[in-house]
Symmetry: C2
Subunit: 294 residues, 2 copies
């Protein structure tokens, strides 16, 4: 398997439009929501627990609620104070686990520092764990099984990669960043697709040398402008997961220097308008799947 | 972090002695078994379910039982016929899950072809899953948590790597083979150690090129003699997980051509006498840990 090239390499990279892909995906999801209502007379329900006052989290949760409702689904935001006890959080999660009107439950990250993230994520019923962060679901992903929920951002990245290159067998995918939320599940998803994978972290000695061997480069480091064209193999697919706010202008920047890398890459996602819209679309997709299986 | 070199590169590689490391580990385990009996008056118990007539499986299980008893632990082999129903297997697993005298339960792989491996492995109580193959335990490993059980062969490999190089941060570990049993959990364990990791599979286009960038090379493909010195960066640690029986002589051979690779590597495990003995030692270690937590 080698990477397809649909254009001369001297041209600029194809821009992978995440907004458009998310719109297309949501049109399909809309039909599934309608069918559920027609056949079984209920609407898929998503609950998001938000703990504390993180302002970015508040914006993200509001966006999830809005998009939920746009598809005719039900959205419930549960805002809890920073100083709430672990016991009370677990009790709220248990209530939602047992609520038949809620099919998907997300605990918005990051959590206030003193809370035990692993205990909270593990308390969610795996069948409602639409963020795919319960150990059971991560384990099913690691085992290559298809019946669990996978994390939404890696699912969105994979969708965008597939729009440019449907068959990934034998391609080398390099993932920059080894987080539980993106890097590790992304690696496991791409392994399932038959890719050779490499996962780099902040200790990696020569990241650009390894990145330059990548047919697919996924960057999720939170370091604005880390990746230049020197990191890129000509024709590679570059997926930029970074969403970094420029303190001066307020604009969003990726981990990849777009105008530089797009001279060399075969295809590239912009920031904003790349991975971001796909993440919420896949969250809704997971909720609908949970509702269909309920 | 760079790899230590304790000897001139012109010399042959250090041979990492798995038998000796397993003996040392079992001496420590013996003390924990004695302490459990002294303090709490019980012996750790391991049950192994063996389904069908695979002759290699019979030998492996007998070896587990023998080593269990050598440490003063209790071993129970449950041999079931090839044509047993899934329902009956799940019922036997449930009995063992509830048996307070059994702390660890292994279903010997490979299973007869018609059986659903995922359903069987998922039926084991994660607290008794000493092979670390239940999705819950794989997921805890993927999440970087330390409270689950990790698979025994990767644990043994990591132990052997540590005998030569205690701090792995920033080293590039390349794993050849992407199986659920070895390749994937090995990658996740080495990520936890701060390594950059690459996982290759049978579709990888130029495996030797990637392997030659490895500070640590773990080979688990089942392809006898696949890896030659052309795959090796001088001074690298080479861990050979392959156990392949030579049809003519009956002797065991690894995936690595030992006499060739040992001219270039910094350290290397032999076959037999490398990873094999460590796998059973870590199985016993997991059973004792399960007993201590019971």
């Amino acid at each position: 398997m080698t990477l397809k090239t649909t254009f001369p390499l001297s041209q600029r990279a194809l821009i992978i439009d995440g907004r458009s892909a998310a719109t297309d995906l949501k049109a399909i999801l809309q039909k599934r929501v309608n069918k559920l209502y027609r056949d079984r007379k209920f609407k898929p329900g998503l609950a998001v627990i938000r703990i504390g006052n993180d302002s970015a989290s508040a914006i993200y949760v509001a966006s999830k609620m809005k998009q939920c409702k746009e598809l005719g689904m039900r959205g419930f935001e549960i805002a809890l104070p920073t100083n709430i006890s672990l016991k009370k959080i677990l009790s709220r999660i248990q209530d939602i686990n047992e609520d038949p009107e809620i099919h998907g439950l997300v605990v918005q990250l990051p959590l206030p520092k003193l809370l035990n993230k692993q205990k909270i994520l593990s308390a969610i019923d795996p069948k409602k764990d639409v963020d795919g962060l319960h150990p059971q679901n991560l384990g099913l992903l690691a085992a290559g099984a298809s019946d669990g929920f996978s994390p939404c951002t890696p699912l969105g990245c994979l969708h965008l990669i597939h729009t440019f290159q449907p068959d990934l067998k034998g391609l080398h995918a390099v993932i920059v960043g080894a987080s539980n939320l993106v890097g590790k599940p992304m690696g496991l998803l791409l392994l399932q697709q038959g890719c050779t994978i490499s996962i780099l972290n902040s200790k990696t000695v020569t990241p650009s040398d390894i990145a330059r061997t990548a047919d697919i480069l996924v960057v999720a480091t939170g370091k604005v402008g880390l990746v230049t064209k020197k990191w890129i193999k000509p024709g590679a697919i570059v997926i930029d997961v970074g969403i970094n706010k420029d303190e001066k202008t307020g604009s969003l920047k990726g981990d990849v220097i777009f105008h530089d890398v797009s001279k060399v890459a075969g295809a590239i996602t912009p920031v904003p308008g790349g991975v971001g819209p796909m993440t919420v679309a896949y969250l809704l997709s997971n909720v609908i799947r949970a509702a269909e299986c309920s």
